[in-house]
């Protein structure tokens, strides 16, 4: 059996995740021994159409994106969403809170009708996604773990517990003790609590925990004197697509 063929595709994003993969310098040669990379715009020039694993970076935000991602899904056996934009819509989705016509006008002015766009969505909102590597940018260690699992026929696992769990394991002081509101308790771990460990609150870039208790989170943030508007902004930074702030349900 030949080496699995792997392709990377970028959609609406800053391409930081692909670039951060290039930072895997030490491992890149090992990786190239294990897979054939047939499509990777940032690094190679040939564009193969024959691949088994597709890594997708970026969110789906135009009718053209929708067409492209369907085509990729038809070809690939495994689709992996790379980074926040592909995983949850990410930063791009902030604009989903605005009127879409206004957004087009702000960006393209009078040419707005030439550039049709839709709300910025996660790849999984449009096609089936098999695995995700969260984060803004994605974490190289996690990328290697997921790739290693895929190549050895294991199911790649990413944490479903919160950033607090990693933050406690590092014995960091909690930012709430300083009156700073942190998204850690409701954000999916896996970054080794990168932000709180460096003194900054978590923005939620790895997406919300699957078992979210949004009302509890809102109550805590309110207690720490964030206004409803500020609370919304904390959620909207990366997680617009996953919070309907008006909805109120418990359990």
């Amino acid at each position: 059996m030949g080496k699995p063929k792997v392709a990377f595709f970028d959609f609406t994003s800053c391409e930081g995740c692909q670039l951060s993969k290039l930072n895997l310098e030490n491992d890149l040669l090992d990786i190239l021994e294990l897979v054939d990379i047939v499509n990777f715009r940032e690094a190679i020039s040939n564009h193969g159409e024959d691949y088994e694993i597709a890594f997708i970076e970026g969110s789906i935000s135009t009718p053209h994106c929708v067409e492209r991602i369907h085509k990729i899904r038809r070809q690939a056996q495994i689709v992996v969403a790379l980074g926040s934009c592909a995983h949850i819509g990410g930063i791009n989705a902030i604009r989903n809170n605005m009127d879409q016509d206004e957004v087009r006008e702000a960006v393209y002015g009078n040419d707005k009708y030439l550039f049709p766009s839709i709300k910025a969505q996660a790849v999984s909102d449009v096609v089936k996604v098999d695995y995700v590597i969260p984060g803004c940018p994605m974490d190289n260690q996690e990328f290697k773990r997921v790739l290693s699992a895929l190549l050895t026929g294991k199911i790649p696992e990413i944490p479903e517990y919160s950033v607090c769990a990693e933050c406690k394991a590092k014995e960091n002081e909690c930012l709430y003790d300083y009156g700073v509101v942190c998204m850690g308790p409701i954000t999916r771990a896996g970054c080794r609590a990168a932000c709180p460990t460096n003194g900054h609150y978590c923005y939620g870039c790895r997406g919300l925990v699957p078992d979210l208790n949004k009302n509890a989170a809102k109550d805590v943030m309110e207690k720490y004197k964030l206004s409803i508007d500020q609370i919304k902004k904390r959620f909207y930074m990366f997680n617009t697509n996953y919070v309907n702030m008006e909805e109120k349900s418990y359990e």
Binding site: K144, L147, L151, E157, S162, C164, K168, D177, I186, N213
Partner: protein
């Protein structure tokens, strides 16, 4: 017998002397709070502290630990070498050591956990009295501040001094080496302490409270405030649950199996193969934690698996208090 005391300012000298022979672990400040740490400079040691972020368990059951390494192709495995460096744990509160004794029970009864037990060899514990803050409630779970069980030496604070009591042979040996720092002690009482946080009822009979409490409203009420972050378990001296995972290094046959602290408040904790979750509802998980502490497991002396350190209350960002929950039941 005339008892001995050490002045506060002589403590660093006493620690220096210990350092010559042992690894010394003691509380040191970290920002507004404290952590247990291997001591470099003896001046760092604090003896007036409320509690540390993580309990001593981190030295015996680290947050993340490789338990076996293997080679898939050669079908070989090795267990990592565990050193049990002679260690003095200095300035330890009694509930903290009670937490270790509960872990000893958990890891040493039935199937023995060699990885844990090995690290428990060659340990010396030097205790110190403390003033309870708003969260400690150790007295309510049968741990009054003068309980000295398990300590080799116990220091009782009075007037800028500490009375030094050697309680074991190992302790006596250390105290004899400290003689130049010691003076005669005039104090032979025990400080009077008040716990602000309490259970309404003491531990005797507490297990029975759970019999009729399965559908008590407190579980749902509490679960509305809880976002299942897991902090309360991770910081608990008597929580020992871990998750096991395997990782094979990309492109090699080398792999390692590790264990990592887990928490019963997290949904994935109760998930089994096939995706079934036993405690899908958050209130089931809240009830489980309390039941584990006060009903399901008692050590061989019938004491609960909560030592009243108050960490889970202090560090819960959602202000959930185990004493409030229990008091709603009592």
């Amino acid at each position: 017998m005339s008892s001995k005391a050490i002045a506060r300012e002589k403590i660093p000298d006493a620690v220096s002397l210990l350092k010559a022979k042992y690894r010394v672990i003691a509380p040191v400040p970290k920002g507004k709070t404290f952590v247990f740490k291997k001591i470099g400079n003896p001046q760092e040691v604090v003896l007036d502290y409320n509690t540390t972020i993580l309990p001593l368990k981190k030295f015996f059951l680290p947050p993340d630990e490789v338990i076996v390494k293997y080679n898939l192709k050669k079908r070989e495995y090795q267990e990592p070498e565990i050193e049990s460096e002679p260690t003095v744990f200095f300035g330890i509160h009694n509930y903290e050591l009670q937490g270790i004794l509960r872990l000893d029970y958990a890891f040493g009864t039935g199937v023995k956990d060699a990885t844990y037990l090995k690290k428990r060899e060659n340990n010396i514990f030097i205790g110190v009295t403390y003033t309870p803050d708003d969260y400690h409630f150790a007295e309510s779970v049968g741990i009054p501040t003068d309980l000295k069980e398990g300590f080799d030496i116990f220091l009782t604070k009075y007037n800028g001094h500490y009375r030094v009591e050697a309680l074991t042979d190992k302790g006596k040996n250390i105290v004899s080496q400290w003689s130049e720092f010691l003076e005669d002690c005039s104090y032979d009482g025990d400080p009077v302490v008040h716990f602000k946080n309490k259970l309404k009822q003491s531990v005797a009979g507490i297990r029975e409270i759970f019999h009729g409490a399965y559908n008590h409203p407190v579980w749902k009420e509490t679960s509305k405030k809880c976002y299942s972050c897991g902090t309360c378990n991770l910081v608990c001296p008597t929580c020992y649950c871990f998750d096991v995972s395997d990782e094979v290094v990309l492109g090699t046959d080398q792999g390692a199996r590790s264990r990592r602290w887990d928490s019963c408040q997290i949904l994935g904790f109760t998930e089994v193969a096939g995706g079934e979750a036993f405690r899908e509802k958050r209130y089931d998980r809240v009830r489980h934690r309390m039941s584990r502490k006060f009903a399901y497991i008692m050590d061989d002396r019938d004491r609960p698996f909560c030592v009243g350190c108050g960490r889970c209350i202090r560090q819960c960002t959602a202000d959930i208090s185990i004493t409030d929950v229990m008091n709603a039941l009592l």
